[in-house]
């Protein structure tokens, strides 16, 4: 840090001629020195403002209007929010979103932990299995949705065909209001699992081997080794990964749009999909914006709660 300051200082000294340092020059020099870091981060900040801060502000502003994209904007104050919170469908959508988020994230993370423990050993078979498991993650959601929609088709899908062979009755995976959400969770877990596994494996591989040797010498059982050594050692990664999963799950959209369109009877309708429908199908942009504001608040509150609950239990700091 100090070095950088020194370099900047020298640079400024060179840039500003200083035969005799008048007070004004001194002032200029001080100002330039103070301003340098801000000038340097300005491009990044500017980009952030244009593409992130402005849209958010615009969304919040828009949530106070009724607007169909063509006609004039009509100011309604908190009208959109009142309408939102008195709509029973909205609560259904929120519930769906939480159900999707909590189940898909917890299943995916726990499954990924298991798989990572078994796949972390550096063997050829494991390398192959890792790439298998990673493939869905890099496959486009459109293909994934298409494949799973076919697999889950209740009449000629492979899943029901196999269930039939096994003597079990078929499931109406995507048409049954009770099953559809679980089908969505299944697909989401299947698609995102590989990423979680890879990240967890790399975190586990970074744990010094000596720790496990010390544990063996200390007569530690495998189960306890996992909970007392592996898990605490990967806690920073696990913490961050789970958070990213949560935020991504809150924002689920393409999968819903492609596979169920929020149906049947709103059973898989989640917040972002609902926003899309109100905004770009029903052209109620003010109402959709109000939903967006709620989504943003939800994510913020959940993230804060997550941090509050768990960040103290994360082990930061190097090995010793």
């Amino acid at each position: 840090m100090r070095d950088i300051e020194k370099v900047i200082d020298e640079y400024i000294t060179l840039a500003i001629p200083m035969p005799r340092m008048a007070a004004a020059e001194k002032f200029l020099r001080g100002t330039a020195r103070a301003a340098t870091p801000y000038i340097m981060v300005a491009p990044a900040i500017l980009t952030l403002c244009v593409f992130v801060v402005y849209p958010i502000m615009y969304m919040i502003w828009l949530s106070a209007f009724r607007w169909d994209m063509i006609g004039p904007k009509i100011y309604v104050g908190l009208g959109n929010f009142i309408e939102l919170f008195s709509n029973p469908d909205f609560y259904l959508v929120i519930g769906n979103t939480f159900k999707f988020m909590s189940l898909s994230v917890s299943i995916s993370i726990i499954l990924a932990l298991f798989l990572a423990v078994y796949l972390k050993a550096n063997t050829r078979v494991n390398a192959l299995l890792q790439s298998f498991i990673f493939t869905p993650y890099i496959t486009s959601m459109v293909s994934v949705a298409f494949i799973w929609a076919w697999l889950m088709n209740s009449e000629y899908g492979l899943l029901n065909f196999m269930l039939g062979k096994a003597g079990v009755g078929g499931v109406r995976w995507l048409e049954d209001a009770g099953a559809a959400m679980y089908s969505m969770i299944l697909v989401a877990v299947w698609k995102g699992l590989g990423y979680n596994v890879i990240i967890l494996i790399s975190a586990m591989r970074a744990i010094p081997r000596q720790l496990y040797e010390a544990a063996v010498l200390d007569n530690t059982k495998p189960f306890r080794t996992f909970f007392r050594i592996t898990l605490p050692m990967i806690s920073p990664t696990l913490f961050f990964l789970t958070l990213m999963n949560i935020i991504a799950a809150f924002k689920v959209f393409d999968q819903i749009a492609l596979m169920t369109g929020g149906g049947p009877i709103n059973a898989t309708n989640t917040l972002v999909f609902d926003i899309y429908q109100f905004g770009f199908k029903f052209y109620q942009l003010g109402y959709a914006s109000a939903q967006g504001v709620v989504l943003m608040a939800l994510i913020a509150v959940c993230t804060a709660a997550y941090f509050g609950a768990l960040s103290k239990r994360v082990h930061y700091g190097g090995e010793a």
Partner: protein, 345 residues
């Protein structure tokens, strides 16, 4: 009964050629045995096989007469101190020390008592609730020791436990380890490539080279009666001077038959200004003083001679000026080696 015995042990990593072949080694119960040798000679491998962290590809390892082949590392009655300590970073000092005891379900009361005692022994009483990352290198070292001591093992295995410490701390912990060994009466097996550590702490030194034992014995015998050139040149600081007999300007007429090279320790050399032809029974070298290191109580001089460079370690006296000198060695300090490098007695 021996403490630890290795019989015909071989170790190969994967498909590589074996790094240790047909090794026989006896480590006496209660000894402070040092495995000494240059980097890569297989010291750690031997230690890790004794610990059970590495499986021997052939042969048998016995601890207290018991074959260890199917005994897990935790069941061998040993404790190990790693070079980088391998403390559990997420646990406090206390948790680190008691972890092994908890695993074998030691009753809480006994556990507490043992931990308290050990913590006191290594002087960490005020640090029990700290995480290792908030400790200095020396303190971490002590935690690692405490973690081993608390298990009351019959055998302590240590793999270069001092190499991450500065010289002063190293010297201090060396004495601590000697005391510890005397107090506990356990067998210590200690790996190092530092001969000072080996000589100062060991009761028994096993000198290794390329996976083979070159000599085993007390520090005194290894120093004064090296059985081969390797031992002669590995032990001592600076190491023994070795010259080819045929290169010598002034022949030694009393060398035994078959002598190919001669050796003498720098500390046994004297520096004289002229050659005294009447003086017999002394090996003599003419050389140019090339470098001198004045080290307080002694000085080390390096001479360029007809048979290579020669070092002399002079305990005190006035500083020798740069120029031409003679280096003399009394015949009783000479070692003779044959063409295979074995000592001729």
């Amino acid at each position: 009964m021996t403490g630890i015995e290795l019989r015909g042990v071989e170790k190969a990593y994967g498909k590589n050629p074996p790094v240790i072949e047909n090794l026989d080694l006896q480590i006496e119960e209660g000894s402070f045995t040092i495995l000494l040798g240059p980097s890569g000679c297989g010291k750690s491998t031997i230690l890790r096989m004794i610990a059970g962290l590495e499986r021997e590809t052939a042969g048998h390892i016995f601890i207290n007469g018991e074959d260890m082949r199917d005994v897990s590392p935790g069941g061998r009655g040993i404790a190990m101190v790693f070079q980088n300590y391998a403390l559990y970073p997420t646990m406090t000092v206390k948790e680190n020390i008691e972890f092994g005891l908890k695993n074998i379900k030691t009753p809480k009361q006994e556990r507490e008592a043992r931990v308290t005692e050990v913590v006191k022994m290594v002087g960490l009483t005020n640090y029990v609730n700290r995480k290792p990352q908030h400790l200095s290198g020396g303190q971490r070292q002590r935690v690692a020791l405490a973690r081993a001591i608390v298990k009351k093992p019959k055998v302590f295995l240590m793999d270069e436990p001092l190499s991450n410490l500065d010289a002063k701390l190293r010297a201090q912990i060396r004495t601590d380890l000697i005391e510890l060994h005397r107090n506990l009466g356990a067998t210590f097996v200690y790996v190092t490539h530092d001969q000072v550590e080996a000589m100062s702490m060991g009761t028994d030194i096993v000198l290794l080279d390329n996976g083979r034992i070159r000599q085993q014995g007390s520090p005194g015998s290894i120093y004064s009666a090296p059985r081969n050139l390797f031992t002669a040149q590995f032990i001592g600081s600076p190491p023994m001077n070795v010259v080819k007999a045929e290169d010598m300007e002034y022949r030694v007429d009393h060398a035994p038959h078959g002598t190919v090279s001669l050796g003498f320790r720098p500390e046994n050399a004297v520096i004289v200004s002229e050659r005294n032809p009447s003086e017999r029974g002394r090996a003599l070298f003419r050389g140019e003083l090339a470098a001198r290191e004045i080290l307080g109580d002694h000085a080390i001089y390096k001479f360029k001679t007809a048979c290579g460079s020669i070092r002399a370690k002079i305990m005190s006296g006035s500083t020798v000026e740069y120029g031409e000198w003679f280096v003399g060695v009394d015949r009783k300090y000479l070692y003779y080696f044959d063409e295979k490098g074995d000592a001729i007695i």
